[in-house]
């Protein structure tokens, strides 16, 4: 039967990159679907930037294959970059130019109109006065905003963003998240690396976890969150029941009339089991993705 699924926005097959004896990336195989926001998670030095740089043609793979928007990263790198917006981690800009000149120069080199620049500048609070100032006078956050605008101003089909919220204050981070939400609604694909789990939780449809150059897992974010453990506190009138009788409750500690423990798995069954007129209070704290992530790493062996 003919495969009618759309071409993945990004596809890698056993992608490997070695720097001499150093294995920066080993056998990375993943597909990023068109129209999704895909988080690429991992600690510093895990291979996130190596992957991105290989996708954009800055690095040559030692072995394996990769394509972006259906084009081979080795042979069609220029055409890939025509359709892509890229924000490097810790972006460097031309200090002697004004913000506006930088954006003009880069969009001109892109060969496309800056369709989204006005909207992006407004949302990221880059006023005309700010854009007229030299980049050398910008704070780190302002440089990062210019970085975001240069990556997205030409309305790319695919945005590749390397730690995009680095240096942005919390308000601007929220503004940036809303921009990405809009891109998703418009069917654009976003691939972004991060080690900030809360933003991956907030934004991503799927997340890949990479460590020491190895892909550890790819998850649907809602699925990962559903699997996570929750911290539960129960307070009873009178004596607390035997915690082993409560389904799904682990690591339980009884402290007088209180039971504190962690809950994994389905919540509904647990709630049904504890339903009692003697239950005075119940607190279920949603574990963050960070906890899910740490939990995952705690139970997964580090690759060598």
């Amino acid at each position: 039967m003919q495969d009618t699924s759309p071409t993945p926005a990004i596809s890698t097959r056993a992608l490997t990159k070695h720097y001499g004896p150093v294995r920066a990336l080993s056998d990375l195989t993943l597909d990023v679907r068109q129209g999704e926001i895909f988080g690429f998670l991992g600690p510093n030095g895990s291979g996130k930037s190596t992957t991105i740089r290989t996708l954009l043609g800055f690095l040559h793979a030692t072995s394996g294959a990769a394509s972006v928007l259906g084009m081979d990263v080795g042979r069609e790198s220029v055409e890939i970059r025509r359709l892509t917006g890229y924000l490097p981690g810790g972006i460097a800009l031309y200090d002697s130019l004004t913000g506006e000149e930088v954006l003009d120069y880069l969009v001109d080199m892109q060969g496309r109109e800056p369709y989204r620049r006005g909207e992006l500048c407004e949302r990221l609070e880059l006023s005309t006065a700010v854009l007229k100032r030299k980049v050398r006078d910008y704070s780190r956050g302002m440089r990062q905003k210019i970085g975001v605008v240069q990556a997205l101003q030409h309305d790319p089909e695919l945005a590749i963003l390397d730690e995009p919220t680095e240096g942005l204050d919390p308000l601007m981070q929220q503004a940036f998240y809303r921009i990405l939400d809009d891109l998703r609604r418009e069917g654009r694909t976003v691939f972004f690396s991060s080690h900030v789990l809360s933003e991956v939780e907030r934004l991503c449809d799927r997340v890949a976890i990479i460590r020491a150059g190895h892909l550890m897992a790819i998850h649907d974010v809602p699925e990962l969150l559903a699997r996570r453990r929750r911290r539960v506190t129960l307070r009873w009138r009178g004596v607390a029941p035997d915690p082993t009788s409560l389904p799904g409750l682990e690591d339980a500690e009884v402290d007088g009339n209180r039971i504190i423990g962690t809950l994994s798995g389905e919540v509904a069954g647990f709630v049904r089991a504890i339903a009692s007129p003697n239950l005075e209070d119940l607190t279920i704290e949603p574990a963050s993705l960070e906890e899910a992530f740490l939990e995952y790493y705690a139970t997964t062996e580090t690759p060598t």
């Binding site: 740089r53 954009l56 800055f58 970059r81």
Partner: protein
């Protein structure tokens, strides 16, 4: 090649270029004045035997004839410095500097191949070198006209002087840019390019001042640009082949190496 990148590269060099062009014109104007004022004195001094004749010349130049003085003016450290600002300084830092600053990856995230990037920067640098060289030569011709000495020059050979001189400095420019695409930091690129220029210069000066080492001059690119001989109506066409050959080899090297290099994240 990207016209936009070429123009932007020139734009970034424009202030420096304007200053060097003015300095080059000034230096060029002075050479015929020096010649007019001091050539007889120098000749008398040389003929007196007080100094070895070799010390009366500098490289392939001399103050005894106007073409010789022009050669001397173009081989003087001041002229070397002016041209070297672009042929060595700007070229060695062009790519390695962008790489060290981190702006290279912002630029290469655009739909421009490394080949196009290299050729655009090379073209901009060669234009800058040509402008500076033409400014110095223009000053020398202007100075000769002001002094009423143009009859001593075969001005019909002027295009050949410019072509040969441009070829010489193009060789240093392409070498500098080849070093620039090789290293991740501008320091080593500048060091290697300066060493190349210095060795060539040393061989030329050594050979001209020490008769037993005259053979060394043949190995210097400077020896293959003798405007004095050309303006005296004695061009050596093989010099053109040598300097342009020396200019092309680094281009071929860069075209092979640069697109194949890994550009890891800047530190």
């Amino acid at each position: 090649m990207s016209g936009r990148l070429l123009l932007q590269t020139l734009r970034w060099q424009r202030v420096r270029l304007a200053i060097v062009v003015l300095a080059g014109i000034g230096w060029g104007l002075l050479i015929p004045v020096f010649y007019n004022a001091f050539s007889d004195v120098m000749r008398d001094l040389a003929n007196s035997g007080a100094f070895p004749r070799e010390l009366m010349s500098f490289g392939s130049g001399s103050l005894f004839t106007l073409p010789g003085a022009i050669t001397l003016g173009l081989q003087h450290p001041l002229a070397i410095g002016m041209l070297g600002i672009f042929a060595v300084g700007a070229s060695a830092t062009a790519v390695a500097g962008e790489r060290a600053r981190g702006t290279l990856e912002v630029l290469l995230a655009r739909p421009i191949s490394r080949l196009a990037l290299y050729l655009s920067i090379l073209a901009a640098l060669l234009v800058a070198v040509l402008i500076v060289f033409a400014a110095i030569i223009g000053g020398m011709i202007g100075g000769s006209a002001i002094q009423g000495l143009t009859a001593e020059l075969d001005l019909a050979q002027l295009p050949l002087v410019i072509l040969n001189g441009f070829g010489l400095w193009a060789a240093f420019t392409t070498f500098g840019l080849a070093a620039s695409v090789t290293f991740d930091r501008p320091g080593p690129a500048i060091g290697v390019s300066l060493a190349y220029l210095a060795v060539n210069y040393f061989l030329e000066i050594l050979g001209s001042l020490w008769i037993d080492a005259a053979w060394a001059q043949d190995y210097s690119l400077f020896h293959h640009f003798n405007p004095g001989a050309i303006l005296s109506g004695e061009p050596v066409l093989v010099d053109l082949v040598i300097v342009f050959g020396a200019a092309i080899v680094p281009v071929v090297y860069a075209l092979v190496v640069f697109p194949r290099r890994d550009l890891a994240a800047p530190a």
